[in-house]
């Protein structure tokens, strides 16, 4: 499918470049996809790489304009996640403040402990992301590679469920969700947080890795999903904020309009997806997403192998 895109002719250069490298419709669809796929454990980046190829769009994940576009959708996702858990974040931030004032993380202060668990999970992932983002994205840039890693992601989700620990039950009297999450050890939090860096490979889901890590360490699916969403907010927000100047600078020319549309769509779909998933994981597991990733990965790989 070929899209007619308006083209401008920069004076004196003789070179043509698209006026809107991403159309508004493409922006809206990519935004909706990003918003849904970010909280779902199915790899938003993988789907963002595969979808343009499937639809025959001239968009590649390492295109400067596409990366700039993604900044807007990720920023919207982070804002919606922060807004969704706003009251929780206020409690967590107050807890961190209390612990810094008292110079200790009290055992009975689950807000403070949860806050620092999120910090120690975010810092290694952030540092690894800063260092390895470019090489990993360059190495695994193709849609075929993303499709293959979707299969890997699906297998990982099934393995997480296979080797899950017994999750706490309501009659275990381990407190509310945050209190149960705050029982993770520092080492477990660092492990789950660092593992997020694997999701820099398109096809591997960040939320899938964090949810899987949570259930391996004894959280229920519901608590693991909540932990995953809390863990996502600072890292997605920081990564997007870091690149926001690109969107506002010359690189963003021609992308800002579609990016704004994409961001609005991503925000709406993120809100709906998070609301759905928190309810879904009250009674369900990662298994359906694992099966979806395997089937989708095999299907996409077959289509690409047949020249699609």
């Amino acid at each position: 499918m070929v899209h007619d895109r308006p083209v401008e002719q920069p004076a004196g250069t003789g070179l043509a470049r698209p006026l809107h490298p991403i159309s508004y419709l493409q922006g809206a669809l990519l935004g909706l996809l990003q918003g849904v796929a970010e909280p779902f454990p199915v790899s938003s980046l993988g789907h963002g790489v595969v979808m343009p190829r499937l639809l025959g769009w001239d968009i590649h994940q390492n295109d400067k304009f596409f990366l700039t576009f993604l900044v807007a959708t990720h920023f919207a996702t982070a804002i919606v996640l922060f807004g969704f858990f706003f009251r929780d974040w206020m409690r967590i931030l107050k807890g961190i403040g209390r612990s810094l004032r008292d110079r200790q993380i009290r055992d009975d202060d689950s807000d403070a402990r949860l806050g620092w668990l999120l910090v120690v999970g975010t810092v290694p992932a952030g540092v690894l992301g800063l260092v390895f983002e470019h090489p990993l994205r360059s190495l695994f840039a193709s849609a075929a590679s993303a499709a293959a890693f979707l299969i890997v992601n699906g297998l990982l989700l099934l393995l997480f469920e296979r080797f899950r620990q017994q999750a706490p039950r309501p009659d275990d009297h381990l407190g509310d969700s945050d209190e149960r999450i705050a029982r993770l050890s520092w080492r477990q939090a660092v492990g789950v947080g660092s593992a997020q860096a694997i999701a820099l490979i398109p096809g591997i889901s960040r939320s899938g890795i964090t949810m899987g890590g949570g259930i391996l360490f004894g959280l229920s699916n519901e608590d693991a999903a909540r932990y995953s969403f809390l863990l996502a907010t600072p890292i997605i927000g920081a990564a997007a904020a870091l690149k926001l100047p690109e969107l506002l600078g010359p690189v963003g020319n021609g992308v800002r309009g579609p990016a704004l549309v994409g961001a609005v769509c991503a925000g709406i779909s993120t809100y709906l997806a998070v609301k759905f998933l928190l309810r879904f994981f009250e009674t369900n597991r990662l298994t359906p997403f694992g099966i979806y990733c395997i089937v989708a990965g095999i299907t996409f790989s077959a289509i690409f192998a047949l020249g699609g």
């Binding site: 612990s99 810094l100 008292d102 110079r103 200790q104 993380i105 009290r106 055992d107 009975d108 810092v123 952030g126 540092v127 800063l130 260092v131 870091l242």
Partner: protein
């Protein structure tokens, strides 16, 4: 190693890392010491992200030292 000595060493590491961060932000890749990751002869670009990474880890060192030198025991949880 006593907690205070450990805290002092970690705080020192924090100072070094923040200094490293400033070097990354101020100097272009060609002017970085050759043993720094990102050193690239003839390159005028600044490794801002490397600097942010060093700064964040440095900050983490200070936080660790802050807690390590705080009250060691936690009060029991209310029944």
């Amino acid at each position: 190693m006593s907690p205070r000595v450990l805290a002092a060493l970690v705080a020192l590491l924090g100072v070094v890392l923040i200094a490293v961060a400033v070097v990354y932000w101020v100097d272009p890749a060609s002017s970085l010491p050759s043993f720094f990751p990102g050193h690239e002869a003839g390159s005028a670009r600044h490794h801002v992200k490397h600097g942010i990474a060093a700064f964040v880890v440095g900050l983490g060192c200070f936080v660790f030292a802050w807690f390590t030198t705080g009250p060691s025991s936690s009060p029991p949880a209310p029944a």
